[in-house]
Amino acid sequence: MKQRLHDLLTIQADRRPDAVAAVFQDVPTSYSALEQMSNRLGRALQGAGCIKSDRIALLLTKSTRALVAMFASLKADCIYVPIDTTSPIARIQRILQKCECRCVLAEKATAALLNELIAHGAVCDPVFVGWVDEGATLLNKARSQFTWSDVQSLPDRAPDSLAQPNDPAHILFTSGSTGIPKGVVITHANVIHFVRWAGVYFKMSSEDRISGHPPLHFDLSTFDIYGTIAAGAQIHLMTPETSLLPHKLADFIRERELTQWFSVPWVLQQMAKFDAVRQGDFPALKRLLWCGERFPTPALIYWMKRLPNVTFDNLYGPTEATIASSYHRVDQCPEDESAEIPIGLPCKGELMLVLDEQLRPVRPGEPGDLYIGGVGLSPGYWNDPDRTREVFRPNPYSSNPSDRIYNTGDLARISADGLVYLIGRSDSQIKSRGYRIELGEIEAAMHAVPGVQDAAVVVIGVEGSEDKTICCAYVSRPGLGLSPLALKRHLTATLPRYMMPQRWMALEQLPRNANGKTDRPSLRQQFEKEASLAGQEMDCGPRSTRTELSSNPPSLVQ
């Protein structure tokens, strides 16, 4: 039978109702409880008028209730949209508008945020609010449809579901270069294909205790959740605060006896940097997986030396191709710190092509654009046919006209033994701490600030390190002399925190190249020079007291 994602839960709840499915803040939830709660909430959504393919915004922090909300949305044949509740109001508002949500599921912890959204007109009739706990009082412009006590009074049988495997299951929003976030549509089948492959490849079982580290709007979390449920295992959800201190994270892995860890490399790198892992640590851990960006080899060596009994797999894939498209197991601890780790081979059912500008395959070893096709490929961006057409193209090497390939924007080469290696990007997208950031989105936000006449964003980083610093240079409108503090205050209202520049430079004008375009290499050099001077100053001892940003540009403050 062709399955939908919520069928995975129903199967486990029938098979092992009392087994623990999820643990959050030491509270376990069984498979049957998860199934029944999501059945009831699914009924509440249908009862409130939700129909097939309606979008449900999840204005929820990470907890087991958020998992209930996901499964409930699917059981009601709806599409859920996890919202980053730390994002600025304006960005959440754009996302809600873009996906024209029918319902917002909220909780007491997000009630203040919800009321701010209501005050901004982002949530109003006919959009209704459903509470997954006792909730709170709403501003009068919004309609509250049900609270958790209403939900609990409903039957716990599964609601009727008409969803097909190729129907969208969720929409994940990522940074957009024009300043508008893009909604990547992911189907039930997209996730199920990956989860099935991964279940076999990683030998996942009901004995597994799986980490739930990334935020729920990250596509990595999709594997944690549905991989766990498909295997009948346990997911151990972490609060964002647990991630702040590397030693606390290590305590979590140790105390919960996790068997699988999956995160962006930055987290593992921090744990290595602050030596949070002991020799032979985490005896229960079987496998460690990372995805989202390059794992610096020195940090990988640190981990592999300490955990000789753990397998290490590098997964690669943009959100548009669902969790991961390729994998590479690092069998031997690299001897050389400069050793390059490939992104490997396509997962089963996936296709990876390295092509030139005319979409012809390049020869082994030559650089080209990396395209992805296959079963994990998203149908495209929600309500955005132009951007979808731009990057999802017909596959010129398939006889099936509906086959498509996605231009990842990554530059790659294929080695003689068929392994794919990443080289860089063909655009200005960067990864910082695993977050995907279009520098164009930051520039668009800066240009929207009233006192800004011109702005450019560049990235500097230490050679061989994944520590990247987002730097912005800007020109104030005449007579305004916008300070970095004032500029940052403006940007806080539109940009997520992870996109916030860390270095600021006020200039009289941006440097231009011969073609009249912003001379980004020159800007990068200026920032690198300043950063290097600052580093030298630190090496000389405690820094001198900072002076307020001089009104005579150029100057730089952090």
């Binding site: 702040l244 921090q270 980083g461 390190s465 520590d467 992870y498 950063a531 630190m538 090496d539 002076t547």
Partner: protein, 115 residues
């Protein structure tokens, strides 16, 4: 820092910490009781930067492995941490003011650089 907890005025130390956050992270903290974690002033990147800056500014060693999340909850809790670390360091060898890291990567320091 107009509003202060109970009847206590801002101490010199809390003023300096708020100023450090203002200068290094470009964030104005309105009260020494403000929750810096809930408001997102401190995240996994800025927290390590701030640690580094505190070590340099106050000449203390702050061993990361001994820290609790709540040590960074507010300017007041950071002040208590700095005070506790000052007494711990007092009389012993003067602090090098470095967060211990197994790599010699200069990235942390440089990212937290000043003009």
């Amino acid at each position: 820092m107009q509003e202060n907890a109970r009847n206590e005025g801002p101490t010199q130390l809390t003023r300096e910490i708020a100023q450090l956050i203002h200068d290094q992270l470009l964030v104005e903290v309105s009260s020494p009781e403000d929750d810096l974690l809930a408001s997102g002033v401190l995240d996994s990147l800025t927290l390590v930067q701030l640690l580094f800056d505190l070590e340099h500014r106050f000449g203390v060693t702050i061993p990361l492995e001994e820290l609790e999340i709540d040590d960074f909850r507010s300017v007041n809790s950071i002040a208590s941490l700095v005070q506790a670390r000052s007494s711990a360091n007092h009389g012993s060898k003067r602090s090098e003011g470095r967060i211990r890291s197994v790599f010699s990567e200069p990235a942390l320091g440089r990212n937290a650089g000043s003009s």
